[in-house]
Symmetry: C2
Subunit: 413 residues, 2 copies
């Protein structure tokens, strides 16, 4: 998967602090790619709670089935993620591979298989041989160490052109806690847990049901607000692990969602997830522009998000942006097709600060040359005001370029 790095990649990536209670390692298991690390293991200290948001696909992968089954347990001791093979649509053998891998990891880490969480990304429909895991997991468990987030992020890449990770701190009842996240994209990225994996780790002592409620809510405005191509993967998985180690430093244990002390943590979680989500759009397959779509004045927030997604998923809008064309007519088309309440004659549209359409007509002051200049930027802000209500939403996407076609017409071969 070597190739040029997305022009939208951040110039500088953050230093990742350790998370107490999390030890990481990545290794070459030779699952599909040669000469690169393709499996990661996170070893989590006893007492770690877990929450997850999984794909809504009706044809989920075997690891997604596994996570869905074990999330209600609420505790985690290990996370195994591989790239190169999604273990999706692999029937009984897929299920067996998952059980075998969980058992191997449990033996290596010294926990119950129920406490092992799994994710796989890569080709669909090829049986996944658990053999490579057998060869490496015991050794990995021994060598896992604090740190290693950047390396782990690298090992789960498929068509990604750069590893994605972010870190943030938050106050929890007077004690500073940390949240680290890693993620991968970058095709099949769409609403409803598109093709992406995201793993978050914190030392905050938070009960699983509380984690779950926060994670689901934060996902709506982060990972579920990113789209590359409107396609939804069989394997989307976001897991949040809380080791609770910050309790040793005085952080309070949080057992209810409405605990006031959670506020800064909740904000920090939302923020770090948004950062990761935006990195996905920045590494959208073939992306040359990073696009923020804001919709306001909609009937309600849900309607605003649907319209924003209709715009962000429109191949015609996305190719126009690739062509540096401020083609707001296609934005109107996308608003119209969303099927949500809209009044054509109240619609206004901006590219950046340039108002191109006002009250259902081209802005009388519209200057194509200025708009075209704006479209040459790497980062495009597209704003739509429906003028009928108070609902708003923001989503992130990228343009649709020749490189998307090249990447996806050749991926398997």
């Amino acid at each position: 998967m070597a190739g040029k790095v997305s022009p939208l990649a951040p110039a500088v990536m953050p230093e990742m602090p350790d998370i107490e209670g999390v030890r990481l390692i990545a290794a070459e298991a030779g699952i599909r790619y040669a000469g690169r690390k393709d499996v990661m293991l996170a070893v989590l200290d006893p007492g770690t709670t877990v929450a997850g948001v999984l794909t809504r696909s009706r044809c989920p992968s075997a690891p997604v089935d596994w996570c869905r089954e074990h999330l209600p347990g609420g505790t985690a001791r290990a996370l195994v993620v591989n790239s190169g093979n999604a273990n999706a649509f692999t029937g009984m053998r897929g299920r067996q591979a998952v059980e075998k891998t969980a058992a191997l990891a449990a033996a290596a880490v010294g926990c119950s298989a129920d406490e092992v969480f799994l994710a796989s990304t890569g080709v669909i429909g090829e049986p996944l041989d658990p053999g490579p895991f057998e060869a490496v997991l015991a050794d990995m468990a021994k060598k896992a160490a604090a740190g290693g987030f950047a390396e782990a992020a690298k090992s789960i890449m498929t068509t990604d052109t750069f590893p994605k990770y972010a870190s943030i701190t938050a106050d929890l009842g007077g004690t500073e806690v940390t949240i680290n996240g890693i993620a991968k994209g970058s095709g099949m990225i769409a609403p409803d847990m598109a093709t992406m994996l995201g793993f978050l780790f914190t030392d905050a002592p938070i009960a699983a049901p509380v984690l779950q409620a926060m994670l689901r809510r934060a996902a709506e405005k982060s990972f579920n607000a990113v789209t590359v191509d409107g396609d939804t993967s069989t394997s989307d998985t976001v897991l949040l692990f809380a080791t609770g180690k910050a309790a040793d430093r005085g952080a309070p244990r949080i057992d209810t969602v409405d605990d006031e002390r959670l506020k800064p943590f909740r904000r920090a979680l939302a923020r770090v997830m948004r950062q990761l989500a935006k990195l996905l759009a920045r590494d959208g397959e073939g992306a040359s522009k990073f696009v923020t779509v804001s919709v306001e004045g909609a009937e309600n927030n849900r309607s605003a998000k649907r319209i924003a997604m209709a715009i962000a998923n429109s191949p015609l809008v996305k190719t126009a942006i690739a062509g540096e064309d401020a083609n707001w007519g296609r934005v109107v088309m996308a608003v119209g097709k969303a099927g949500e309440p809209a009044d054509r004659d109240r619609l206004s549209i901006w590219f950046g600060e340039i108002r191109v359409a006002l009250d259902g007509e081209r802005d009388p002051l519209y200057d194509e040359e200025i708009a075209t200049d704006y479209m040459k930027q790497r980062e495009i802000d597209l704003r739509v005001d429906l003028g009928i209500g108070e609902g708003s939403a923001r989503v992130w996407t990228c343009d649709l370029t020749h490189d998307y076609i090249s990447i996806n017409a050749d991926y398997r071969s």
Copy 2:
């Protein structure tokens, strides 16, 4: 818009017979393109009935608003269609342009403006100046003559690479009647009356409500079963005009939908509309493969169609086909994202006659080489059996290629 013709264009186009009561002409009005005919006029004899199916876009064009308003009248004397400008999102001026054009056509033809039907296709958001219509319509009305269907089909093209028309005859109560149709695509093609125009003409004497019922039903399995890019236009319009002239040759007047004598006509209408719809997919922007997606074994027909559309609209499925890759994993992904009832472990998939997946796993007999050979064909049949019910549907699409990007990143400039 000159360029290479789609490799999927039919080798031979049919001869188009005259339709009694229909006179046609196309002319150069200079609306946007120079040196090509960009407006067509159909003059319809008194007594012509009309039916229509229009875009469901919440931001429809001014001509769509006009047609929606006047279809209940049920009678038509003229049809004016232009390419180059969609007269969509043009506010009050769009409305005025439509009224002016209808008045000009009514004066030229000698009828009421209410009996003039209008459609426009091309750029969105540019005011449409009715001046060019004023300059040509009176002269066109004088010169309109029997025949001219191929020429009319040509004048309504935008990014189309070949004109689209088809003809069929049917028995109506012992008398042969004819249905001629013309259509244009070829981007913004999606369900719910995608960006396309289709106009059908028949000499059959059929009351407007009967026409309307038949047209809506036939559209579901023809124009509404084609997708190029999932984008829905502001301007989609299909109109069916029945001059009734065959009554002079003994055809019975049909006033009720359940008239047994309608059966052959209904079948013929469905067939000619399907032919036109398939031509749209054959001229999908940048198309190099014509793809038929059949879904069976779904919970019901509606569910089957949604799944078929999810497959046909998936950028990942479409790019895989462009890359001649029998990537059925992406078909599984698309089935999963449709949100319709499906059981992963009962799913089977075929490319042509090659079964690639069976009961939720790769077919044990699957031979990648044979599948890859098949994918080199120009016409790809993709079949999915969900194995859970009796519902079925068939839709048509094309692949997603570099040329789609080139066409749409450069269209306006």
